[in-house]
C-alpha cells in the first residue's frame, strides 16, 4: 500500500461512503485526499516519526475501501453507557442500542445532511487524519447538552482472509455551553491483520466538561493509528484517559488546544507493550490564552522486546501568561530488552508561567520485591502486585465504572 494506491482506491470507494460523490462532504473528502497525496505516509525522515516506522505495515496490501465483515456475536462485554457498535468501520444496529439525540452514527447523520457536521471538522489535521477524512466510512456524532448520559463507542475490527482491510472511523464530539459528559471509545480486535485509522475531534464549548476515555485493545497482528484533537473554549475542561494495550504497532497523536482563558486539560495515559509490540504516544498541548492549566501523566509498562515512544510537547504562546502546565512520563521496564524513547518538552514563549516536566525509566524495585516475599507473598504474585501498583494510579483517575473492566483488560495483557 502506498499513497498512490490509496488515491486510486478513493474513486472506487467514494460512491459508497457517507455523503456520496456529489455533496459538500465529498468536496471535503477530495480536499483531504489532495492534502494526503501531497504529504504522503509519514516516514522515519519526519522528525515526529523518527522512532516509528510504518513501512512494514505499508508493505502489506491493505485495501482502503469498504470491507463489510460479517457481524460477529460479541457476547457479554462491559458496557459504559449508551452503546453504538461498529464492525469493520460500519455501524452494526443489531449489536447497538438505539441511537439517541446525544449519540448517532455519522452515516445516519450524513444521510440526512451530507455536509461537514461542523465547520471546524478536519481543520488543521495531519496526513493520516486527512486520509481518514477522505475515507471514513462511519463513526459517531456525540452531542453533549447539560448533563449528558455516558456514551460507549465500540469499534470492532478484524482481518478476513485475502486482502487485509484498512478501516477508517471517526468520532465527533460537539458540546453546548456548560454541558458535561463521558465518551468512551473502545477499539478491539476480531483477529487477523488489519489497519485501523481513527480520528476523534472534540469541541469543548465555554464551561463544558468532557471526559474522554480511549481504550486501544486491538489484536496483536493489527496496526492502529489514531489522531485525537480537542479544542477548548473559555473555562472548558477536557480530561482524557488513553489506554494503549494492543496492536503490533500503534501510534496515537493527541493535540489539545486551549483556545480561551481558564481552559483546563488533563491527559492521562497508560501503555503496555510486550513481545515485539511497538507503541508510540505523541501529545501536544498548546496554551493560547492566559490562566490555562494542563496536567499530563503517561505511564508505560514494557516487557520482552517491546518498544515504546513518548513525546509530550507543551507549547505556551506569548499570550498565555499564568499558564500552569505539567507533563510527566514514567516507565517500568520488565525486561533487559525492552526500549523506551521518551521526550517530554516545553516550548515557552511567555514569561509568567509555571511549567514542569520529567521522565523516569526504571525497573521493579528489588527491595520492594524482597519485602513482599519476606512476608510470604510468592515471587510471581509479588511482581504482579508491584506492576499493578504502578498501573493503579492511572486506573484510580478513571470514572469508577471503568476501573474494574480496565483492570481486567490490563491483567489479560500483562505477562
Amino acid at each position: 500500500m502506498n499513497a498512490k494506491s490509496c488515491a486510486d482506491a478513493f474513486a472506487r470507494a467514494l460512491p459508497g461512503l457517507p455523503g456520496g460523490e456529489r455533496s459538500e462532504l465529498a468536496s471535503l473528502r477530495r480536499a483531504a485526499l489532495e492534502r494526503f497525496k501531497k504529504a504522503g505516509f509519514p516516514t522515519t525522515q519526519d522528525e515526529d516519526w523518527r522512532f516509528t516506522d510504518l513501512s512494514p505495515a505499508l508493505a502489506k496490501p491493505f485495501e482502503p475501501t469498504l470491507d463489510w465483515a460479517k457481524v460477529p456475536a460479541i457476547g457479554e462485554r462491559p458496557r459504559f453507557g449508551a452503546r453504538l457498535v461498529f464492525v469493520n468501520g460500519r455501524f452494526a444496529p443489531e449489536l447497538s442500542d438505539k441511537p439517541a439525540a446525544h449519540v448517532r452514527p455519522l452515516s445516519e447523520v450524513l444521510r440526512e445532511t451530507p455536509k461537514p457536521v461542523d465547520p471546524r471538522m478536519a481543520d488543521g489535521e495531519g496526513a493520516l487524519a486527512s486520509l481518514n477524512t477522505a475515507f471514513f466510512s462511519d463513526g459517531a456524532l456525540v452531542r453533549l447538552t447539560g448533563e449528558t448520559p455516558a456514551v460507549h463507542l465500540l469499534f470492532l475490527t478484524g482481518g478476513a482472509a485475502g486482502t487485509p482491510p484498512m478501516i477508517h472511523t471517526r468520532v465527533l464530539v460537539l458540546t453546548e455551553r456548560g454541558s458535561r459528559g463521558l465518551v468512551v471509545e473502545e477499539h478491539a480486535g476480531l483477529g487477523g491483520t488489519y489497519f485501523s485509522n481513527h480520528v476523534a475531534e472534540v469541541f469543548a464549548a465555554e464551561g463544558a466538561s468532557v471526559e474522554h476515555v480511549r481504550i486501544q485493545n486491538e489484536g496483536l497482528e493489527a496496526f492502529h493509528v489514531s489522531s485525537t484533537r480537542a479544542r477548548l473554549a473559555k473555562d472548558a475542561r477536557y480530561a482524557a484517559h488513553a489506554f494503549g494495550l494492543g496492536a503490533a504497532l500503534s501510534r496515537s497523536d493527541v493535540l489539545c488546544r486551549l483556545e480561551a482563558e481558564g481552559a483546563d486539560c488533563s491527559l492521562n495515559g497508560l501503555y503496555l507493550a510486550s513481545g515485539t509490540q511497538h507503541a508510540d504516544h505523541h501529545t501536544r498541548v498548546i496554551h493560547e490564552r492566559p490562566h490555562g492549566s494542563s496536567r499530563e501523566l503517561y505511564k508505560g509498562i514494557l516487557d520482552g522486546k517491546a518498544r515504546a515512544v513518548f513525546d509530550g510537547a507543551i507549547e505556551v504562546t506569548p499570550d498565555a501568561q499564568k499558564t500552569d502546565a505539567k507533563v510527566y512520563n514514567k516507565n517500568l521496564l520488565l525486561s533487559e530488552t525492552a526500549l523506551i524513547n521518551t521526550k517530554p518538552e516545553f516550548k515557552i514563549h511567555a514569561n509568567d508561567v509555571q511549567c514542569k516536566h520529567g521522565a523516569t525509566v526504571g525497573q521493579l524495585s528489588s527491595d520492594a520485591l524482597f519485602y513482599l516475599r519476606s512476608r510470604g507473598i510468592g515471587a510471581v504474585e509479588a511482581r504482579n502486585l508491584l506492576v499493578h501498583a504502578f498501573a493503579g494510579e492511572m486506573l484510580a483517575a478513571l470514572p469508577e465504572m471503568l476501573r474494574e473492566p480496565l483492570n481486567a483488560a490490563i491483567d489479560a495483557r500483562l505477562p
Binding site: S365, Y371, R375, G376, G378, A379
Partner: protein, 249 residues
C-alpha cells in the same frame, strides 16, 4: 527452634560472616549486639533469604528443616519474620491489601481456608488497636510517607498479624524516640510466648531496657566473640565495643 552452625556468608566476594554458631529455643529472646559492620544485618538477610548474599559454609536448621534451602516466601510461610531496619515503601499497594495477601499466603501454605475481606478486616482492626496504630494507616500505601516511628510500628503490626514462630528484629530501635520505642517494645513483649522465639539485633543497649533478653551475643568481625546474660549489655554500654577488636583479631 533455630540452630546455626559454622555459618559463613559473603557479599560481592567479601566474607562478612566468618563462622556463626547460635542456638535459639522456643520461648527465648536472644540479643545480638555488635559494632557497625560486624555482620548483624548480613545475618538477618541471610536468614531470610535476601538475594546478593552467598552462603559459603555452615548450616541453618529451623524447626528441623534446612532453612537455607527455602525461598524467602517459604521461610515466611513457615513462620520466620524479619522486622526490617529500613521498611520499604510500596506506593500503590495499600497496607490492608498487602497484609491480607501475606496473611492468606500463609494460611494457604498451611492448607487453611483464606480469610474473606470481611473476616480479615476484623482481625486487622483488632491488631492495629493492639499496636496503637491509627486505622487510617491501613488504607494508605505500605509505608509511604510514614514517619520512622510509624514504619517501625507497621513492622510490629505485620508481625502481630502473621504470628511468626521466629521473629528477627533488625535494629528495630533505630530512629525511634523514647515514646515510640516504648510502644514498639510493648508490642513485642505482648507477643512473647513459650512457642515463639525472638532474635533482637541492635547496636545499642537501650532497646534491651525494654525487651529483656535471655541471652546476649556479641558479634564482631563476622563471629560471635562473647555470649552471656543480660548483664553483658551493661558491660558493653560502659566499656564500648573497643575491647572486642582484640578478641576478634
Amino acid at each position: 527452634m533455630l540452630e546455626i552452625k559454622g555459618l559463613k556468608a559473603s557479599v560481592a566476594g567479601k566474607e562478612i560472616l566468618r563462622g556463626i554458631d547460635l542456638s535459639v529455643k522456643a520461648g527465648e529472646v536472644h540479643a545480638i549486639m555488635g559494632p557497625n559492620g560486624s555482620g548483624k544485618s548480613t545475618l538477618s538477610h541471610v536468614l531470610t533469604g535476601r538475594e546478593g548474599y552467598t552462603v559459603t559454609g555452615g548450616s541453618v536448621s529451623y524447626a528441623g528443616k534446612d532453612l537455607l534451602a527455602m525461598s524467602p516466601e517459604d521461610r515466611a510461610r513457615e513462620g520466620v519474620f524479619l522486622a526490617f531496619q529500613y521498611p520499604v515503601e510500596i506506593p500503590g499497594v495499600t497496607n490492608k491489601y498487602f497484609l491480607k495477601a501475606a496473611y492468606n499466603a500463609k494460611r494457604k501454605h498451611r492448607g487453611e481456608p483464606e480469610a474473606s475481606a470481611g473476616e480479615f478486616l476484623k482481625i486487622i482492626k483488632a491488631k492495629a488497636a493492639d499496636v496503637q496504630m491509627n486505622p487510617e494507616f491501613l488504607n494508605r500505601s505500605v509505608n509511604e510517607g510514614f514517619s520512622g516511628g510509624e514504619k517501625k510500628r507497621n513492622e510490629i503490626l505485620q508481625m502481630a498479624v502473621l504470628e511468626p514462630k521466629l521473629a528477627l528484629l533488625d535494629e528495630t530501635d533505630s530512629g525511634l524516640d523514647i515514646d515510640a520505642l516504648k510502644t514498639v517494645a510493648a508490642g513485642i513483649n505482648a507477643m512473647r510466648s513459650p512457642q515463639r522465639a525472638f532474635v533482637v539485633i541492635t547496636h545499642y543497649q537501650r532497646l534491651l531496657d525494654y525487651i529483656v533478653p535471655d541471652q546476649i551475643h556479641v558479634l564482631a568481625g563476622g563471629r560471635i566473640v562473647k555470649s552471656g546474660g543480660k548483664e553483658l549489655a551493661l558491660q558493653l554500654e560502659k566499656e564500648g565495643y573497643a575491647f572486642l577488636e582484640k578478641a576478634a583479631a
